[in-house]
Symmetry: C2
């Protein structure tokens, strides 16, 4: 399952039309950084989400809302989205679900009727208090595989990669056409 497949199996030099370069390919997917980031992220996310999915039947967006509200207390949906990197519709739907399950409460902001102020209910805080130690433990078990001597460097690198990715994404969003 985890074995990366031996390429030399069926790719015998049978001289197919446009098939060449096995070993010296210019781009090896398994070394390609964006791909590798996606793989590690989806594996980690998948592993963690199974925990709270099984416990409370919630998904990643709901989890993020829960954690954000647990961290800040009271927030608007917009702020939740900004803090958790989620599209406003995702936040909207996650909040709707959590509200229906009585984990999150919504109260009006008299100063601005467009937004609602979100916060955890007692029950929501209970779920939060139950999940957080599990999540913290998970993150610990994940991070502990990094050699302590490498941690600071990894931290710096991850931070820089995040910044640069945001730049590149913003840049790509501009170029509507061609180069």
């Amino acid at each position: 399952m985890a074995t990366p497949v031996s390429p030399s199996d069926s790719s015998a030099p049978k001289a197919a039309p446009a098939n060449a370069a096995p070993a010296d390919a210019a781009l090896k997917l398994e070394e390609f950084l964006p791909y590798r980031l996606n793989v590690v992220a989806s594996l980690a996310s998948q592993a963690l989400s199974k925990v709270y999915a099984k416990r409370y039947g919630i998904g990643v967006p709901e989890w993020r809302v829960l954690v954000t509200l647990g961290q800040y207390g009271v927030m608007t949906g917009k702020a939740v989205g900004a803090h958790s990197h989620m599209h406003k519709t995702k936040v909207s739907r996650a909040v709707a679900l959590l509200e229906q399950r009585q984990l999150v409460a919504r109260r009006a902001n008299d100063a601005d009727m467009r937004e609602s102020l979100l916060s955890l209910t007692e029950t929501g805080r209970g779920v939060y208090d139950d999940l957080v130690p599990i999540a913290v433990d998970f993150a610990h078990r994940l991070g502990e595989v990094i050699d302590p001597a490498d941690r600071a460097a990894f931290e710096r690198a991850l931070r820089k990669l995040t910044d640069r990715s945001a730049e590149l994404a913003a840049e790509a969003a501009l170029h509507r056409n061609d180069t």
Copy 2:
């Protein structure tokens, strides 16, 4: 847009029912490793995918199939999925699209009629040759922000995190219920 929101805005100590712990929360999302991995991965992926989406109207799964076939020449769908970490249905659909666009060809394997042998067409190889340098350049512009002195450590850490994530995911997949 990128400003992470100042938490002290609306979370004034107004003493709401179940709302507490602003600053000393046990789990800060922005420091939580699984979350951070997801953020950087989706930003990077989003930025890169815009390139080939605009150029050839393909998405991430198609891109991965293309790269994998470009790298190995001839492969079965199963092998493509194993090498690119994609579910077999994703591979199936991506291949169907690429085949329809004449970028990938499928030929029967007389030794095992269940599988088809996939390879790039001439056109597909052309697209591949066009995209790969762009992708390589992208990865370079991404990775160059990492301090050269930190690169080896980052590489080690990423590798270990990937392995451990896979372990944790496999582990989580077993526990059907409770602890």
